[in-house]
Amino acid sequence: MTIQTHRMKFPLSENDSRTLRAGDQVVIDGEIIVTAGLPTHQRLIRCLDGLEPLPFNLLGQTLFHLGSYCQAKTSPQGIEQLDVVYINPTTSTRFNDVMPRLIGELQLHAVGGKGGLDARSVEAMKKTGCVYLSFLGGGATLHTQSIQEVLEVGWSDMLMHYRLMRLRVMGLGPVTVAMDAHGNSIYADTQENAQTRMNQIMAFMDGARQEAATKDKC
């Protein structure tokens, strides 16, 4: 099977999200929102509980677990603006507890980071029409090259990589659709396969150990 690579405009629509299949590759153009903070996610939940307003519109947007370092710079026109110096994914499983609610209530059609999300998110993604995109960990240089502009910063009172950053990107990726809107999760599949194969793997190891012991005796 050949991998399908889709160049798509973000934020993804529900329809676009549902056209993607686990294993596809996506190149991202458009607007994305990123943060790497667990406190940020907890604060988003407070917003959903009506305890605080959202810093900007997140409904129907994209939320990626990417941490960034930003610096102020002055444009040639003399305008002060923020520049993303580097950006890179963080482990999404840390956010397992909050993601189903964020996906459902914020109608997120694309989320992502690295390492995946658990079965509760698979359900939420099916319902909402949402994909999980796997970014290369240790891909800071490549990811950063695609950032065009910082559009908005939410919660500047937080640590830099915890803030919500709305960014305009061009050609971010390719990233892998690791979980799709049809209930497929490469992470769940690989984990299940690993567990299913464990007896077979141990039998192989037993054989190899036996063989090595015989060899060492000679």
């Binding site: 110096v85 963080t90 690295k114 796997s134 240089t141 599949d189 690993a194 141990m202 090595a212």
Partner: protein, 289 residues
Amino acid sequence: MAISSELIKSVTAELYERSLRKIPLDAMDALVGAAQVESNETARHTLRIMIKSAEEAEKTGQFVCSDSGVPVYFIRVGTQVQFSGHVREAIAQGFDQLVSTIQPPLLPHITSHQNLERGYKGAGMPLVTFDMVDGSDCMDITCSPKALGSGRWAALEIFSFPDLRTIEKYVLDVVARAGSQPCPPVVVGVGIGGSFDYAAKLAKEATLRPIGEHHTESMVADMEKRLLAGINMMGFGPMGTGGDFTASAVHVNYAAGHGFTPVAVAFNCWINRRTRARIFNDGRVEFLE
């Protein structure tokens, strides 16, 4: 002649900085080799992007990963070495200086468990382990900054008179628990025996051994080979999205112990962050990695 604090300060800071912008040669070779034989198309694709990412970081002087980790140093001090000042203080000052001058700047990753606040300083930082080497006239320093992605999944369990099968099954279970999360293909370090603290140290040191270098004892080398084969039968693959290369190496170190046998397992992610230098009494500095 003696090694000055100033020299220790600059060398330890430089080792940290180098580790952020370049992956070790053995890690690059492992990725290139894996990309040639990996059977999963997505995995081959991911491996190629990893290679490109590392090359691009080196070419442009940028960081490979945004998580610059916490500063971790392993130092082996020769018994013939003379110091002309403080050593721990010099390493701490070197890190402080790095934080204030490095471009691009580091994100604050040093975290207090008491309030989860993060910064560039904290109790016990930098994390430095010292060992003595009889007869040597140099200070051999390895820097391996530890980030969350791979640091989070290390584990240790203590068994009572375990057979090899039990030990190997535990290693597989720890790798399966880490699964897609430690940015595979990983280097797996296994420490067996000694005591609780010693096994953990053996495992950590095992992650620092260059990929492709097996234990000198054939029985241990055989165990490394079958663990690597077993782990790669699990199918997590590069970045955990499936494939043949979940690990690029398994390194086992061991010590004898009592009948209670700690088994520790530690990980390095695919960028395998590791730099190393030697400082000699006459002030000579040799960067090895």
